[in-house]
Subunit: 83 residues, 4 copies
DNA sequence: CTGCCATTTTACCGGC
DNA sequence: GCCGGTAAAATGGCAG
């Protein structure tokens, strides 16, 4: 490990603080996102579904279809019917 | 609030400890479940899909279809195609 | 992937059912915990406070373990062996 | 439910896009953080330790706030006002 | 490629 | 009965 009492300690502190600062900003954005969902909810949208939508749009189309197919396979294997 | 120095304190402690004991047991069961999924994975099953299956089986059929329908509505509204 | 139309279907079903059984037990424990809180409330304790206490005690424990882990990481980084 | 074939579709799209924009920014910050850790590593710091430190500092903060909250709850339960 | 850790999502619970 | 917040579960990403 680098020396703990000397310049390295300062460097470490500085790096840690930069991380913490960025994490705060990240938190702020997360809060903004939550606010948007609240707003959406307040005008009658279903937040859970909206989250699903965002996830689907982010997802690669091939992956999505693969997952669907696999789910089908499993449900059939168990004799479940997916309406 | 009830008296903090007296019989009530003992009662409180006892209740807290009962809760903690039960939570430990709950934790143990959660670990057991994780083990089963590990085992499943090791023999080639897709854990993520298995979890989906468990969730679907737990879910009321009506709720499930409602959610599907709502997702459809939203994706159509956005011009997305759900293959 | 494992065969889905063969004996694997049985294996899958068995795994799923084991999970479901454990989840039921877990649910039962959760209910027991709720009962304790109800009981506590009925004799005059403040449930919110009790939950906070349980949470804090758990956090303290986690914190302690985390400190341990950090110390561990340090000693490893320094090539030391912790007795 | 809100109308899905009408102006509401536009509102939905707008909300979704706002979320997506913010998530991109969040992702960018996450990448920045990763970069800092890379940089730290390249000058000889142990990233795992650094992450633990950041986590601990955050936990301490949370813990402190939790203690505050508990005190608050107590005082409210006692009908006291905290100056 | 596997296990771990962080993030994200879901479910729950008490209060209003 | 809804709503907000809090804890649990699950998903995804990273390091070794």
């Amino acid at each position: 490990m680098v020396e703990t009492g000397g310049i390295a300690a300062d460097a470490l502190r500085s790096l840690i603080e930069r991380v913490e600062r960025l994490e705060e900003e990240k938190k702020a954005l997360a809060d903004d996102i939550k606010d948007i969902y609240s707003e959406a909810k307040s005008v009658g949208f279903d937040v859970k579904i909206m989250r699903q939508i965002v996830r689907l749009r982010k997802m690669d189309e091939n992956d999505r279809q693969e997952q669907e197919a696999l789910l089908d396979t499993y449900t059939h294997a168990l004799g479940m019917i997916r309406g």
